[in-house]
Symmetry: C2
Amino acid sequence: MSYTEMSREELQNTYAQLQAHFAACKAQNLKLNMARGKPGAAQLDLVGDLLTCLTDPADCFVDGVDARNYGELAGLPSARAYWADVLGCKPEQTIMGGTSSLTLMYDLIAKAYTHGLLHSTRPWCKEETVKFLCPSPGYDRHFKITESFGAQLITIPMTPTGPDMDMVEDLVKDPQVKGIWCVPKYSNPDGIIYSEDTIRRFANLKAAAPDFTIMWDNAYCVHEFDGEFVPFADIISLCEAAGNADMVYEFASTSKITFPGAGISVMASSVANITYMLKLMGIQMISYDKINQLRHVKYLKDKKNTLALMKRHAAVLEPKFRAVLEMLDKEIAPCGFAQWNQPKGGYFVSLNTMPGTAKRALALCKEAGVVMTDAGATYPYGKDPQDSNIRIAPSLPPVDELRKAMDIFCTCLKLAALEKLLNI
Amino acid sequence: MSYTEMSREELQNTYAQLQAHFAACKAQNLKLNMARGKPGAAQLDLVGDLLTCLTDPADCFVDGVDARNYGELAGLPSARAYWADVLGCKPEQTIMGGTSSLTLMYDLIAKAYTHGLLHSTRPWCKEETVKFLCPSPGYDRHFKITESFGAQLITIPMTPTGPDMDMVEDLVKDPQVKGIWCVPKYSNPDGIIYSEDTIRRFANLKAAAPDFTIMWDNAYCVHEFDGEFVPFADIISLCEAAGNADMVYEFASTSKITFPGAGISVMASSVANITYMLKLMGIQMISYDKINQLRHVKYLKDKKNTLALMKRHAAVLEPKFRAVLEMLDKEIAPCGFAQWNQPKGGYFVSLNTMPGTAKRALALCKEAGVVMTDAGATYPYGKDPQDSNIRIAPSLPPVDELRKAMDIFCTCLKLAALEKLLNI
């Protein structure tokens, strides 16, 4: 029965029962983690052959390059071709990175601050104010990058088709607005795929800042866990067609395709932007790890083969997401105080619980040994104005542990809601 | 005979003979490269087992960590212990990097500009003027980093015992002087080992800037090619003993131990600095490549085993340096217009030719297909006030090619000197 339909006595009885259950859970001294989108051991075991696909030094000669030695700042040509295939852009529009696309994003923002981007009139550190748009709920690590550099973060509400584009189109008229964070496919945490119309409006943005930058983090570009691969527009050619060729930088990585701790990443943009960035990067490094690029090319081969691997990841992930959604349907749906998404890809379930109770619910979780992403983390400055959004990351624990964790999580959601309703 | 002792006619005859030889060299259409300290193929072949030392996923569990997954920002504990062993510092004083220590250096300077270092009163981008000390001849990539951020570069002369410390001690009284670049062992390009007294004076510097930083690039820490390993002081504990615990950051990498294009690097400093940097780095990345760290630990094992490997590198490198030095002794010494060092480690021979002729000599080399590091590159802003210093990098070509390249190089040195003497 929905909590709003219960009498005070019924609420009190429910609360007492849940408290008893919570005490029993605590007594188990569990240590469960649903905090980050960390692949589980079964996924890592899928890609063990990455360790054996390049063992002969003779195989290190490729594209006319000895991958073992210095050189090739932009990365191995075959690795650039691989990513161009996956993202639907051109090899010359790519730069290969190290283990983490996050680093490529951080470094781009850092260089905007210290040196300026291609069309900057001055480095951002010389601007009085830099504003950055943050579709929320969103990815805490994105927001922290721009926060760390002192940018003023502006929350953009998410809709079922992507960020509120009316608001975005209006705000980019402000020349102090320098960019926007996007996870366009299976957005973190909502799992939303930006609609064609949203993407078209992004490509056609009329920004006042000449160096306005769309940070297009295509982290889940091939990360369907339920159903077939969903083709996705190439934002780079769309921006070019709209006369905004240098407005977007796209990012992706193999962190959730091969090994999170030892993958390769990519940054893609217009050739003009890539040329400009390579000039700056040439001062910072000789190249990222070319042997690991080669290893990945040999192992992943191309987009088609990568999609086949992602099916095997999906077979591990889908039961975990199903367990989470089944528990929510069974335990929380009848209570009527929370809503959540039904993602078909990405790494998260985004849940909105009774406003004003998210922090309390997660504090209770912690008491019982279940670690979740901090409440508020999905909003700029870690502050959810509604104290409602919670990001659930089901990928790490095995299904049986996940069910235990979700049992505790649901109990805590209910306890926090009841405390609120009962003014406890 | 020394050119200074020759009559004009003798000089002219010599010049004519050299011109004929130069024309014959050009006709060979050679393509030879002595530009960078790039290891040769024979060195890369020494370490092929790095590709096969980690092939079983079960071996990825180490130090209680699954090296395949996210986490461990500072690096695998066993990799930190390895570098502490090599550098003579403590594991907790280290952070593991990616393929390139250059990136760790760039990122440190970048963070000084955008966020400030531990003892900065403000980020360096908010300072009116930042000055940086550049012992010269030195490493062009060091100088370019600080130049790229707009620092004012100040040349410090090198002496046989290291940088001119009287000048350094005097200049650090200026609070705008924020740091100094050092390659303390087998300095690039002079091959000088800083004396104990120089190192002691570094550790005891009384700098006016609270965030004055010694960039201690120990690139050639185990890179003897002639003779036994030379033990070297741990600058971190010396600075600590002198009350300057947070004044130094040390850097090293396996770029010239294993694969230049796929090694691991390290930054070492006081625990207070490391803690501060990890906080900033936590916004930039999850971790560098832990599988590659593990691969290196399994392959290199410890300092003792690494020194044994360096003996095998030395066996490849020593004949190359010998060929260079023999050619210089035979071809250039009698002419009396140039001096050079006799290094026992590192990657370079540093030569001072007749002032005002280095650029011309290297332009001639280029005409004949021999690429060298640009003349001037070893000085701030790429400008050698004497136009005299040339960095020879003998590591890449096989010995027979090296002899051909050196023949052309010596010819060009002489041609340029004769042009000067003859006012051609």
